[in-house]
Amino acid sequence: MDPNEVLKFLRLTYTGLSDGALLALIALGLVLVFKSTDVINFAHGEFMLLGGFVGYQLLTITAGWGIDPTLGTIISVAALVVAMVIVGTLVERLVLRPLIGEQIISVIMVTIGLSSIIDAIVGLAWGTIPQPLPYSIVPEALAGRWQIEMEGARRPLNLPQEAMLTILVVVILVVLLMLFFKRSKYGIAMRATADDQQAAMSMGISIRVVFGLTWSMTAVLAGLAGLLIGELTNAVGGDIPVVGLRAFPVIILGGLDSIAGAIVGGFSIAMLETYASGYVHPSLKNVVPYVALLIILMIKPYGLFGQKRIERV
């Protein structure tokens, strides 16, 4: 086997995995909202944009204090989480709650309108030029590149170690989310709401609290994803929502309401993208996920893991 081919395969696989972790993280936020509130959030990419820029601002402020990057990162991420919780709660309270019970098209459009508003706010506040982060948020242990010498290839495999950060973050978040859903009172309330809103209400669960919590959680996930993209691409800029758009094939593939589906879908779509662009043609990256999506929808209309809905008149 040609060692160059092996190198290429390894490199593509690694890119696919770290990209997949990112897509899974984004899709997770979308699925979370759909599962408990039946809304597809077309403003998720803009939440990421906002999170990225808020994160950038916080890092800049902490850098101004002249403290250690590790401590600065921790403070900034914590403050980012708080900020995104506030954003999520506000959005739910002001925009989504009045539309509970409206038809699907209204709810889709309101999130689209919201995305325009957030875009405009971010543009007014931070402009259109991509801003590099003041310091890297990658822990020391992950900084640098892996050098793998291939036998006979004479070419080291340069893999950016910080891409591992996404995988690490996603693993931690998934574990935390699972614990939250299995163990905590609110997690169980959220699952109950997702299952049957009326039954949950009659058992004394406050749907409003659950909805507010869901939107805060999705905003936090989006904010973290935005900051990660800022780190991976070395700058936060206006193209972050485009990455958010890439998550739609993922959630359809996995099923709109399946958390496991979001993760499996994220990795499969990213692998598909990377291999297609690496082995066939680079431009295929943008279109292959959508072709795959159409084929899957033809075979399984509710995605691979989605719950089939039974309808009554």
Binding site: G113, A120, L124, P249, L294, E311, V313
Partner: protein
């Protein structure tokens, strides 16, 4: 002043009328008069804006057939427009077809491809269908960018844009649409009138009633004997036929077209038009189209007036304007949905009813 408590029909003829009252006929005459007068009174830049509104109205009516009347959410409006525009443009470039034939052919090609895009609608609905049309949007965009035969060249340099020659009619160079705004207006406004009348009447036939039945409750419609699959695909075809005309007109209006004019944000703009105007109404589509097209221009002129001639405030104005336009666009959508989900059309009716029933409204 005597107020009527209702409209009484004494003959089948009057029952079938589209506009039963005298007031409605008077208003129709006023609108017709307005349409005729416009090219005589406005300057050329306003005429271009009016032309854009007319094209957008046709496109919005087409989208409303699919979304407002049949209830199939589509994020692929940009793709349908692109198909119409490129079909019309390519026919002119490669086969030197005169523009009326190219326009008609573009509408039919668009209807065929629209039916194809509508095929998944048998098994998908709601959000899943919306994302499937998003896929169509992305795929069409990709084809336009990556398929070489439809790229043209400008000044000898290859670009992604397709140059439209603007074929003359009867060999008369004055009868080209892309350099004659008034002629374009006459053609486009005539088409708009035909499309609006045809669509209004469509919903008085069994086909249109079937569309509405599918929107209101698809399972019940099926039980009552509406062939869901046939009518859903038909709705996609009718819709993309009309949108194809709008796309073709876009191509005829311009000297070049490129994918930037058919992106996802265009799809979103059209959705905003029918949401703000009113879902499931023909007049609402026109109000909404006019509103969404004129709004950014209005903001631009207001902003320019506020900025004055000071260079510092002018550069600030240029920096802020695109964001303000986008932000206002979003705010309008959100506020419309929260306050009056049925749109401008409904607000207009409320105002009318207020005066019709005054002083004893209930």
């Amino acid at each position: 002043m005597a107020t009527q408590s209702g409209i009484y029909h004494e003959t089948y003829g009057s029952d079938m009328q589209l506009r039963p009252t005298t007031m409605q006929r008077v208003r129709l005459a006023l609108v017709a008069a307005l349409l005729v007068v416009i090219p005589f009174v406005v300057d050329s830049s306003t005429q271009r804006l009016v032309n854009t509104v007319v094209i957008a109205s046709i496109g919005a009516i087409g989208l409303n057939v699919l979304v407002g009347f049949t209830g199939q959410i589509s994020l692929g409006q940009g793709a349908f427009l692109a198909i119409g525009a490129y079909a019309c443009g390519l026919l002119q470039v490669y086969f030197a077809v005169p523009w009326p034939i190219a326009l008609l052919a573009a509408a039919f090609i668009s209807a065929l491809l629209g039916g194809l895009i509508g095929l998944p609608s048998l098994r998908l609905k709601g959000l899943y269908l919306a994302v499937a049309t998003l896929a169509a949007q992305q795929i069409v965009e990709w084809v336009i960018i990556n398929w070489d035969p439809i790229d043209g060249e400008i000044n000898g340099r290859a670009t992604d844009a397709l140059r439209i020659p603007g074929n003359a009619l009867f060999g008369n160079a004055d009868l080209r649409l892309n350099n004659n705004d008034t002629l374009f207006y006459v053609v486009a406004a005539a088409i708009l009138v035909v499309v609006a009348m045809a669509t209004t009447n469509l919903f008085r036939t069994h086909i249109g009633r079937a569309f509405v039945a599918i929107r209101d409750q698809d399972i019940a419609a099926e039980v009552m004997g509406v062939n869901l699959y046939r009518y859903k695909v038909l709705a996609f075809m009718v819709s993309s036929f009309i949108v194809g005309i709008a796309g073709g007109l876009l191509a005829l209006q311009s000297t070049a077209i490129s994918f930037e004019r058919f992106t996802l944000s265009v799809s979103i703009e059209y959705l905003a038009m029918i949401i703000i105007g009113g879902l499931g109404t023909v007049s609402g589509s026109i109000y909404g189209a006019a509103f969404i097209v004129v709004l950014p221009e209005l903001l631009r002129s207001v902003g320019r007036a506020l900025a004055g001639t000071d260079p510092a405030s002018l550069s600030e104005f240029n920096r802020v304007l695109p964001f303000v336009q986008e932000g206002v666009f979003g705010v309008v959508i959100v506020v419309t949905l929260i306050i009056e989900p049925e749109g401008i059309q409904r607000i207009w009716r409320t105002i009318k009813d207020y005066f019709r029933l005054w002083p004893f409204s209930y």
